[in-house]
Amino acid sequence: MRWSRSLRFRLLAGAAVWIALALTLAGGILSDLFREHVQTRFAAELTTHLDQLAAALETGADGAPALPRPLSDPRFRRPLSGLYWQVEDGGRPVLRSRSLWDVTLALPPDALADGEIHRHRIAGPDGQSLLALERMVFLPDAAEPVRIAVAGDEAETAAARASFDRTLALSLAVLGVALIGAVLVQVAVGLRPLARLRRELAAIRAGQRRRLSGDVPEEVRPLAEDLNAVLDHGEEVVARARVQAGNLAHALKTDLAVLANDARDPASGGGERIVRRLERMTRAIDHHMARARAAAAHGVPGVRTEVTPVIERLVRTLSRLHAGRVLAFAVDCAPGLVFAGERQDLEEMLGNLLDNACKWADTRVRVTVAPDPAAGLVVTVEDDGPGLAPGQRAAVLAPGVRLDEAVPGSGLGLAVVTDVAGLYGGTLALEDSALGGLKATVRLPAAD
């Protein structure tokens, strides 16, 4: 679903759901409160009329109840106005308001104690639904109390309620729309830093900017800082690659000049010189390629390589490559040991060391990997071959004076090992092995 991936959509949808719920609930409560209020008022009004009626009622000359002057509300005189009164004596209606015209209020049979007011919902003239309030009144000189009642049309309250509900719904709808609008503005304002981040990234891609500006909200700052770190690293890798390419070109051009001269002058008899130069060029390429790769990989945080599988693969490969000979490999490596770097770099170092050992070994090659508190990882590769005199070791390991003049001259692949180990801050040392041949020890730093 594409929409659910939009931050804007998520925020808006969430807000809309909450606003709708809150407004509906508020509307319901307000409408209920209003209805209750209207009904209370209506009943209070009817009670007032009832009290008025009770006060105005007298005993007539014939001993029957009489109303010497009409009640003040004009609606009692207007026929079918919706407001009525009635007096019953001994269960028969004896007096009625003019508004009732020729109808009597059908009060349900009821027994009322003195002073009680009862409410009934009854049908009125014209089929109206009436709220009737009744009580018993003792008239002066009368033996029995008379039953008086006042009734009002509920349609009045219904109309007021409907009008109120309409107004309420309209106002709440307007409020809802206004709130959604406010949320829209808020989301737009809140997301603006992200949009700016995107524009800045586009500008970086277009080459108009170099880094993201630090002027971002606190929540987005880690993201911007991480992106800047990635950009830094990329730039550094490119810069290193450029240096390596330059070094390689420098290393090859001299050789190319010699080759070109020999090629143009067949009489120079440079056959052997050409072969020598070609070997030099090959070694230069190996050397600089290894450096370039290791330089690019170096500094990538969190890269880990387990050592045991690498050694196992290399031993399998070397057994095949030296299939014509009987070689016994002894590997001593605790499982779970890790090298803080790229797998290919570890393979390059151990591959060269093991290949040397295989070339020179009589029958035995031993690999030992151990953790070292100071150095992180110590790898030794030994063989039972002729070994190397101490004087030769220095020549084999001699580091280049300068980067672009570091000519790898051993032909043993040890220069590459030194290079790669050096880039990880490690070292390569050569000693005599207890097996009788050469013992090469690589110390590699722990993960930082």
């Binding site: 693969r313 490969t317 490559l321 014509g324 290919q344 591959g351």
Partner: protein
């Protein structure tokens, strides 16, 4: 011995083919992975020299295809990708040896010879059959210490028979391993070569097995 060279660079492949032929091999050449894969699957080679960066199908895919089909010919990978990472991958794909470019032709020839020898089950560089000794390193044949001059085809026939010492080799098989693919083959000429070899060696180490072919054995 018949060798397949799968290499797309025209200069390098021409050099390789010329050099291998001079050393007495029958050589087929394929310039891309598709042709090379097909030839390797259908023709009986004694060794394959395989480049990795090939047009159409890359070398490792070709090699894996052969091994899946059960083609067990010894394969030497010849490539510019010289990192140990690549070597491990190549060997895991089923290669028997790995040589990084640039290389010296002598090194390549030595490795091809060693591959073929190992594949036929010989540990030593010299194969002896009675007084006849075949030095696979120098591609020379001596009888009781005296060198014998052989033509290219004579050498191929003798070399194949001696590599298969003690086993019967049919004329068809011999033809397939002596001639390159695009050669007009005639199994009758094999008889001519065997006849000449018997005369030149002066000793009868090549026996005719009636109706089946030839067998090289101690006299």
């Amino acid at each position: 011995m018949r060798v397949l060279v799968v290499e797309d660079d025209p200069d390098l492949s021409a050099q390789l083919v010329r050099r291998l032929e001079r050393e007495g091999y029958a050589v087929d050449h394929a310039a891309d992975g598709e042709d090379g894969g097909f030839l390797g699957s259908t023709e009986p080679y004694d060794a394959v020299i395989l480049d990795l960066g090939l047009p159409r199908v890359d070398g490792l895919t070709v090699l894996r295809g052969w091994r899946r089909e059960g083609v067990s010919v010894p394969v030497l990978i010849l490539t510019a990708r010289g990192h140990w990472h690549d070597k491990v991958e190549g060997i895991d794909a089923g290669a028997d040896d790995y040589l990084a470019k640039p290389f010296s032709p002598e090194e390549l020839l030595a490795r091809v010879r060693a591959l073929i020898r190992r594949a036929k089950g010989f540990a030593s560089a010299e194969i002896a059959c009675g007084p006849v000794v075949l030095d696979t390193r120098s591609a020379r044949v001596t009888v009781a210490g005296r060198e014998v001059e052989l033509t290219g085809y004579e050498f191929r026939v003798l070399s194949y028979l001696m590599h298969r010492k003690g086993q019967v080799v049919s004329r068809t098989e011999l033809t397939e391993h002596v001639y390159a693919q695009d050669f007009d083959r005639d199994s009758n000429t094999i008889e001519v070569f065997v006849g000449r070899l018997r005369r030149k060696l002066g000793t009868d180490i090549i026996r005719t097995v009636r109706g089946q072919g030839y067998r090289c054995e101690d006299p």
